[in-house]
């Protein structure tokens, strides 16, 4: 086994995660219980879906800051078409996902055809999507959702549906990046965009795909969230992009693009989830929680940069 960057990132995190889980199991009575672990899984699933989506964008050396706002917009759109007896349950679900996809597609078009920096484009989308969510809902939570949709917050054979969604999305994404030509092209574009173009790859198409896919998954996360809180909340999803990007970077994906795996992202998501849950169980005040989480994010990115330099 080589002690290279991948090793450090992937197995370093497993190690840290292992210590955390052991420490929490010993120091608290409730952490190791099945109900708490199920709870952790449920809590991380939305961030997990977002993180998988944004992994694609980060791999192309881009970024998406609009995740949280698009979650809210998709949730509101979904809830608006989900009143009882209105449409079949699939309609609001697909509309919510499509809303996210549309936002992502816009991001991608502006980044590729418009040549605007991803940071700026998605910063703009962050405000626009939040504004649209407020306009669409008149600033109020959209309630009265059909049971067909809110049932999505439930379980199948003891496993929360949200967790199933996350697992399926992560599995598909992992297989895609490893085994599909377009997946390989994503790594190539992120690793050296100009060289990828010279090698005959359409950089525009690859990036457009990454942003659109990220948008679709954000839409899915919005639908899952709306189902859980049984309303379309225009103010939902605040700062969700930060947790998602943090998880991806902790998982070893380089902000410079071209390096990273879905497995790493899953581990990053779990790490953040366990830290959140552990701090709750240890009854750390939420003020301190924010500080600790922030330090972990910065620490992870610092490690990433240090690795990139060496």
């Amino acid at each position: 086994m080589k002690f290279n960057r991948e090793f450090f990132h992937r197995f370093g995190i497993i190690f840290v995660l292992g210590i955390l889980i052991t420490a929490l199991s010993v120091s608290t009575e409730s952490f190791g219980t099945l109900s708490n672990l199920t709870n952790v899984a449920r809590q991380v699933s939305i961030n997990g879906i977002l993180a998988v989506g944004v992994t694609f964008v980060l791999l192309t050396a881009g970024v998406d800051l609009s995740l949280g706002s698009v979650v809210a917009l998709s949730g509101v759109v979904c809830a608006t078409f989900a009143h009882p007896g209105q449409y079949p349950v699939l309609v609001p679900i697909l509309l919510g996902i499509a809303t996210g996809g549309l936002c992502g597609c816009f991001n991608g078009l502006l980044v590729t055809r418009g040549g605007v920096a991803p940071f700026i484009v998605t910063l703009g989308m962050m405000t626009v999507a939040r504004g649209l969510a407020l306009i669409f809902s008149d600033g109020r939570p959209v309630a009265n959702m059909s049971p067909g949709l809110t049932n999505l917050a439930g379980d199948v054979a003891g496993v929360p549906i949200a967790v199933l969604c996350f697992a399926l999305v992560a599995l598909a994404a992992s297989v895609f990046l490893k085994n599909f030509r377009l997946g390989r092209h994503i790594y190539a574009v992120g690793g050296n965009e100009n060289a990828a173009r010279v090698a005959g790859i359409s950089v525009t198409r690859v990036k457009l795909f990454a942003y659109t896919l990220c948008g679709l998954l954000t839409g899915l996360a919005g639908v899952v969230l709306a189902a859980r809180i049984t309303t379309g909340q225009p103010n939902a999803g605040m700062a969700y992009e930060l947790d998602a990007i943090a998880a991806v970077v902790i998982g070893g994906t380089s902000l410079a693009g071209g390096v990273g795996t879905i497995l790493g992202t899953i581990l990053g998501v779990l790490l953040i989830g366990v830290i959140n849950n552990g701090l709750d169980l240890l009854m750390v005040s939420s003020y301190y929680q924010a500080v600790i989480k922030g330090l972990i994010i910065v620490g992870a990115v610092w490690l990433d940069r240090r690795q990139a330099r060496s």
Binding site: Y187, A196, V198, G258
Partner: protein, 491 residues
């Protein structure tokens, strides 16, 4: 005043400078001459502290010195002006000249008046009357050069090293620069200078040192040379490297280019390329060779003129277009436009031809691996394995991966831009042999190289570009280094 003694420098396995000794005197313009890759820039960078020598000493005012950084050299009065200038575009002329040592008053406030006055004073030394308030981005290249020189003067530099300062200048701008350089000499500054323009050397230089393949050839007063004798010193090497025998080319035209133009790089270039032929493209740096072949690969599309492939006129908007039409290319910029550093040897190798091992979007893993393994053996690529990241390979092996990548897509027309730059002799010979195999297999090769012996020995025909114009087209059998070089030199 500044003496280099037995300076050597290696990059990896590649020796770029071998025991070179030169002495530089105050008030003298000393020209370093040689072909691309002769070691001129490396020598300058050693003197300026950008590189550290592997062997040999630098003596400055009678004391041996070991500069660890350009800053240390600068503090001692040695400044280098780089080929690519590095001004801060949004600062003014004055702010750039006094960058890092801005005059301040007792409170630490910037003294604008003194700043302007000092800048004006240094510019005046060079007989230049630029407004010090102008932003750097609004200057011409020549003006930028002058500001860089003023900056060096302001730091009290006694030696100024200039790496091809006139490469991007018009004649008029050159005249201004030469005037400035003569001013410098009158003040007792030693100027070390490289250029590819023959007339310039004889106008400007007091003494000339010729380097060839990293080795010192001669140092003599400029008046001892004629342009012809200088060129023969520069190119006169033995052609000991093994070049493959040429197989005769067919008469079938696979590529025809007519009046291809993209200002300011090249204009009205027309030629034909035949099946089984190697067409060599010679010229100096900045003559537009890379830009011309980039246009044929869709990287930098031409603005007018036509490209005809096997009788069909085509428009090549991007490399994907070119590849679809059977045109492949390996660029001169291996790092920037070639390898994907983080990906493995295999992933780099199959990148262009990946569609050949893909079904419904899914990569056929076993097939990809088998093909990569075969290519690795065929090209004698030295790597720990297919999964080793390509960035860990030597330049020659990276180049072989890139050649394999391009050929795997089975192009009929192969463009090679400086395929042997910066790689060792062994890998070079292998690439030469490969070019022979390609033409024997009926492919057409367009070869750009700054190494004259290489172009002369490998090509059937030779085109010489001079400042974007086609200056000469001759069969390689009639071509001599002197003929090619004299046609490549700007008029």
């Amino acid at each position: 005043m500044l003496v280099a003694q037995g300076l050597s420098k290696k990059f990896g396995d590649l020796t770029v400078l071998k025991a070179v000794s030169v002495e530089f005197r105050p008030g003298e313009v000393h020209a370093l001459m040689g072909e691309n890759g002769a070691g001129k820039s490396t020598l300058m960078k050693l003197l300026a502290g950008l590189y550290q020598p592997d062997a040999g000493t630098i003596t400055w005012r009678g004391h041996p010195v070991h500069w660890r950084s350009p800053l240390e050299a600068l503090a001692q009065g040695i400044a280098m002006i780089h080929q690519e200038l590095m001004p801060i575009p949004d600062l003014t002329v004055a702010e750039n000249i006094l960058l890092g040592r801005e005059p301040t008053n007792a409170w630490g406030w910037l003294d604008q008046k003194l700043l302007q006055a000092e800048a004006v004073a240094w510019l005046k030394v060079l007989d230049c009357h630029l407004d010090p308030q102008t932003r750097m981005r609004d200057l011409t290249v020549a003006q930028t050069q002058v500001v860089e020189i003023a900056k060096a003067l302001g730091r009290r530099a006694d030696v100024i090293l200039m790496d091809e300062p006139t490469a991007a200048l018009s004649d008029h701008e050159c005249t201004a620069l030469f005037k400035a350089i003569r001013q410098l000499c009158q003040r007792g500054v030693a100027v070390v200078y490289t250029t590819h323009k023959m007339d310039e050397v004889f106008q400007l230089a007091d003494r000339i040192t010729v380097l060839r393949d990293g080795e010192w050839v001669t140092t003599q007063p400029a008046s001892n040379f004629t342009p012809a004798s200088l060129i023969s010193h520069m190119v006169g090497r033995d052609l000991a490297t093994v070049f493959p025998a040429l197989t005769p080319a067919s008469q079938e035209v696979v590529l025809e280019v007519q009046a291809l133009t993209r200002e300011p790089y090249f204009r009205k270039v027309s030629f034909q390329l035949h099946r089984g032929e190697v067409l060599g493209l010679a010229g100096l740096m900045g003559a537009g060779r890379t830009e011309l072949v980039s246009a044929l690969y869709g990287l930098l599309p031409a603005t007018s003129g036509t490209i005809t492939l096997k009788g069909q006129p085509v428009v090549l908007r991007n490399p994907a277009d070119a590849l679809a039409h059977g045109v492949g290319m390996v660029t001169e910029d291996r790092k920037g436009l070639g390898i994907i550093p983080a990906l493995s040897v295999q992933q780099n190798l199959t990148l262009t031809a990946l569609h050949r091992f893909t079904q419904a979007g899914v990569i056929l893993g076993t097939q990809e691996k088998q093909v990569s393994q075969a290519e690795m053996t065929r090209f004698k690529i030295k790597a720990r394995g297919l999964t080793q990241p390509i960035r860990e390979l030597s330049g020659g092996n990276q180049q072989k991966v890139l050649l394999a990548r391009m050929l795997l897509d089975a192009p009929e027309i192969v463009i090679l831009d400086e395929p042997t730059r910066g790689i060792d002799i062994g890998a070079k010979s292998e690439i030469y042999a490969l070019i022979g195999q390609l033409t024997a297999a009926g492919k057409a090769v367009l070869l750009v190289s700054s190494e004259l012996p290489e172009v002369l020995a490998l090509s059937h025909r030779i085109l010489v570009l001079r400042q974007g114009d086609l200056a000469l087209e001759i069969p390689a059998s009639d071509a001599t280094p002197e003929k090619v070089l004299s046609n490549a030199m700007p008029l």
